[in-house]
Amino acid sequence: MDLIDRITKILNEIEDLQRPIIDLHYDNQKNVVGHITDEKFKSFSNEDSQKLIWTNLKKNLDSDDLIKVIAIFHETPLERVERLNGYKPKDAQTSNFWFHQTPELAKYWLYIDVAKFGEDFKSFFLVISEKNNVNKGLTFVYNKEVLDFMELEQNEIYDELYSNTFGNAEAEIKLDLMNKYENLLSQQLYGKANMYWYVYEDFKLTPISKNQLFFTEKEISIIEKGLKSIDDFSIKKDIESAIKKSRLVNQMRTEIK
């Protein structure tokens, strides 16, 4: 069996990992280098992550093979998104609501806001996709000491926090779509034959106005759950009012049928 195949098998069988993505290749000297991605690395230190990798390699490979392994870098899925996509400046446009539809017609909604709560500033994002079973949210809290450390003027705070939050939210969506790309890759769908290729080169979120928000009943149920863990940002009211409007329309549609 080829060395990369054997290493891939060893790494795939590590029980402490959830769903590793293994990306190894040979260099010109036939040495093995590459990356292993798994959500579990988020909770491990760099030292523990490398120990886990090398302990398993040492247990299963002989010394001649071990010499050929130069480095296998561990990373979390979000670090992988950053490595493969790099930094791309965001459009100057800001919106509280964003939308993306995949080639399989799965809809991703992104809600994002920044607001002042007492002396703290908070920003949050919520990413929802009913079809793809995604419900991810995160709140960032910047207390006065942190804001002072960042040397932010009052008129800079919104843009700075918004931009960082948007980057994190976009990475979450890309991560989900990259996983879909990987799944299709395992079915031998390469290049543009893989319908999710665009995530790496041409991914876009579309800003939408609050009047364009319309949800299915299933989406409403996921959004309501997600909103429970979000502070009292003003866009919550916009979303709640869009939910009410959507419910009415959904009910009318059911009655007409």
Partner: protein, 151 residues
């Protein structure tokens, strides 16, 4: 004047010179940003020295993980040392990017703050210290290993 070609000894000497600069810079808190930038350049020069000497491949990118893999420096060491080197490169790569040369002190602080806020860390007094000691320790190890195997 544009220099078209750097030899492996140019890169190696540059690495040691930058390392000496770093030793001086890191003692001055006003040079914090530049010292982090210098740490990454020190590492990059060491990897480029090995790449130019052993593989002749030129890589215009500034990705420390990729440069380390291409340098074959790891192939000179046993598995425990490779493990330590991989950790050091990973840590340095988490903090350093070539774009830091354009970063103002404010921008650098904002990058560090966002990262710490995401990890729910609010003690600003430790923000800089944590990042800096990580990249300086990584640089020290990589330069030490690079020097040991340089012939």
């Amino acid at each position: 004047m544009a220099i078209k070609h750097f030899t492996h000894t140019d890169y190696y000497s540059a690495s040691l010179t930058r390392y000496a600069d770093l030793t001086h810079l890191r003692t001055n808190t006003n040079s914090a940003i530049f010292s982090v930038y210098t740490a990454g350049v020190t590492i990059e020069c060491m990897f480029r020295a090995y790449i130019t000497k052993y593989t002749k491949e030129f890589d215009s990118k500034h990705d420390l993980e990729k440069l380390y893999a291409k340098s074959l420096l790891g192939s000179e060491f046993d598995t425990n040392e490779k493990e330590q080197l991989t950790i050091a490169v990973k840590k340095a790569n988490e903090i350093w990017t070539n774009d830091l040369r354009y970063a103002s002190e404010k921008r650098m602080k904002r990058i560090i703050a966002h990262k710490n806020v995401k990890a729910n860390l609010n003690d600003v007094n430790k923000y800089i210290e944590r990042d800096f000691s990580a990249i300086f320790d990584a640089t020290e190890l990589i330069i030490e290993k690079g020097k040991v195997k340089w012939t």
